[in-house]
Symmetry: C2
Subunit: 408 residues, 2 copies
């Protein structure tokens, strides 16, 4: 009845729904407060108060037919210029309104990039683990996703494998830093090395290879770590951004793309992406939220709340004997499963009312993603459950070390 | 540099931009108030005051993480139920929350329908004249648009040609009533006849043919005319709706799809479309606007304003000698060009600072679309210009009938 392209997606989706329903089942049995759902990347920190104030001021000061009306498919020019000014100031780049396209979140931003750039059979490279919907974004426009295997030591991108896997058909490489699901921030050194490889391969094949930087977590970086702005390192870079995390507006679907002048044939690419925004049906990013961004362009997320969560959960999980890279960004821990099949580990966790996402969902089995964009109190309440889970696997810090290696 | 699929679109787009720039050029020369731009379908009637009040109340009464947060990809359940209740009450249908999917406007609603239903090479039938982006929506997912020629007498759909053009590859038929660009409302008789043909062809070919009803103008119907609700006439109907016109929120991108239980394999189709909403990158309809709809579900547009415009402009154009069907819906007049090539007519109109859209843009040359969703005062100011334009063509009512046939 439905298109063939949708059949596998519908099938996979029932797994996600099953987890959602499992959460509801546990909540009904044990009470919502006794279920520790770490499966969703939905910020628990409310939107900053400036967002509310901006909406009130807009309703007071701006004209309704403008606030809720059509504008250029690229978005309001003053909004784009305000963002450009902020980016220029913060990252030392040189863009203006014409280099920005307001999008219905980062997800539709990526869709219109691939709609605009990919011919059937062209390849897009991604580093595992990765946000699994990239595959649908790429194949939806006839592209082929090529996966680079994970570097399990550091979760920095595996650049030697990248170099081997670039072919004449490679059209783009996706990077995502701060990274979902590992929380890793790509270092400047990594970015420089990546740029060098892409430059070399561009010359070798005689056509551009686009670097698509998906950055919804840019503002969520801890320990004072710097997140390099990629257009400064590689000319054929397109940046996709979203205010879902930085202003806690995930439901509003508001983000933008940056296509700098340095990008090859920049003007044509900007035209194509602007038109793609229209013909995939987004038309334009939601207008009131664009007006809000205009007024909140430098408003900062409550980073301390996430950082507090990060420190508590990370330190305790390590103490209980779990293995995990300490994340420097985003709001996820990517924890090694104590058993090779992490699905088993997920099942075991459910016995303690803990829910998280198997690494297989990020093309990286043997790990699980724990989203700590939840209340601090829930993390506190969950700790005894995590400790019991560690005990079940006789992890070294679980307090039941009588047979540590038995379950290895 | 860009994908082949985008090349023609980028090229065509420069024509639209050229008109936009022509408007700006004329405004700079003669003053904005002396340019009569009838080219855009952007409502000039502001959003009803209840929209503003709803936003204020939501900010006061509802929780920020919910108002701006993720929800099911189909949308908030209470919003969908509120719309379902309203539809059931107003049109005597029987739907509930599960039959509705909130969408980023009607345009993305149509996109996710075609993404979910079309296999490569399958056909979608449309009646000329039609909103030209339907072609991009259909071909974007591998489909082929099949065009039925216009019925120039009534602009009701040409059903005998429809019957001939349905093939085993026909997957869907798009209808749009009240109609852009003609303002025609499809009569109940037309719908019954259309349904009979589709039922017959479904039996003949042994698979469903979906009727996709694109209804952003449903609430804009004059003279007390009834707009039939199509799910009541044909079981395999999917309705696409938008609040762009009925609440004057075109920039907000808020609408919905109705997929009734009667539709074949309804549950799978609903799943596929919900997932398509996510993977084309919309993810969900903007959350605050969903909450607004919940509170404004029965709010009515200021129809009198449009009706006043319609009556003034229609009566005067007829008086000046132009030929046009009297529209019963939407906010457009589809006027016959006095010369076969309507591009010439558009050029002539520009001399009087009048801008409208050539029928070729709707696959119906020889006509022009005049959008009267503008201020009454602008229509009043434009009338002498229209009269001069009529005089140029020596139309019978223009007051210069000395050589009517000269320009034929």
């Amino acid at each position: 009845m439905i298109a063939e392209r949708m059949e596998a997606l519908v099938k996979n989706n029932s797994a996600i729904r099953a987890m959602f329903e499992e959460g509801n089942r546990l909540a009904a049995l044990y009470g919502r407060e006794n279920v520790f759902d770490f499966s969703l990347g939905n910020p628990n920190v409310p939107a900053p108060p400036q967002v509310r104030q901006a909406i009130l001021d807009i309703l007071e000061e701006e004209e309704s037919t403008m606030v809720h009306g059509y504008m250029s498919n690229a978005g309001f020019e003053d909004v784009r210029q305000a963002i450009a000014d902020s980016l220029n100031r913060r990252f030392g780049i040189h863009v203006s309104a014409k280099n920005l396209i307001m999008t219905v979140g980062a997800a539709s931003g990526l869709n219109i990039v691939f709609k605009s750039l990919l011919n059937p059979g062209e390849e897009v490279i991604v580093f595992a683990p990765y946000f699994v919907e990239y595959r649908a974004y790429v194949t939806g426009y006839g592209g082929k996703l090529v996966v680079i295997s994970p570097n399990l030591e550091t979760f920095q991108p595996n650049l030697s494998e990248l170099e081997q896997k670039i072919t004449p058909k490679t059209r783009a490489v996706i990077v995502n830093s701060p990274h979902n699901p590992t929380g890793v921030v790509y270092s400047e050194e990594t970015i420089q090395e990546l740029a060098a490889i892409l430059n070399k391969k561009e010359k070798e094949y005689g056509h551009p290879i686009f670097l698509v930087s998906d950055e919804p977590y840019r503002e969520l970086a801890y320990d004072g770590v710097t997140v390099p702005y990629l257009t400064k390192y590689y000319r054929n870079t397109i940046v996709g951004y979203s205010y879902s995390k930085s202003l806690s507006l995930p439901g509003e679907r508001i983000g933008y793309l940056v296509i700098p002048d340095e990008l090859e044939d920049s003007e044509t690419v900007i035209s194509a992406i602007t038109i793609a925004n229209r013909v995939i049906g987004c038309v334009n990013a939601p207008s009131l939220m664009q007006r809000v961004i205009r007024r909140c362009v430098d408003v900062e997320v409550n980073l301390e709340a996430y950082d507090r969560n990060r420190n508590l959960l990370y330190s305790r999980l390590i103490q209980y004997g779990f293995e995990c890279i300490k994340p420097q960004g985003a709001f996820y821990l990517f924890v090694k499963s104590p058993v090779p099949n992490e699905m088993e580990f997920c099942e075991a966790a459910k016995k303690y009312n803990i829910l998280f996402v198997p690494g297989t969902s990020f093309d990286c089995p043997g790990y699980v993603r724990i989203a700590y964009c939840v209340s601090y109190e829930m993390i506190q309440r969950s700790l005894p459950a995590f400790q019991k889970l560690a005990e079940e696997y006789h992890l070294p810090g679980s307090g039941s070390c009588h047979c540590e290696i038995e379950k290895q």
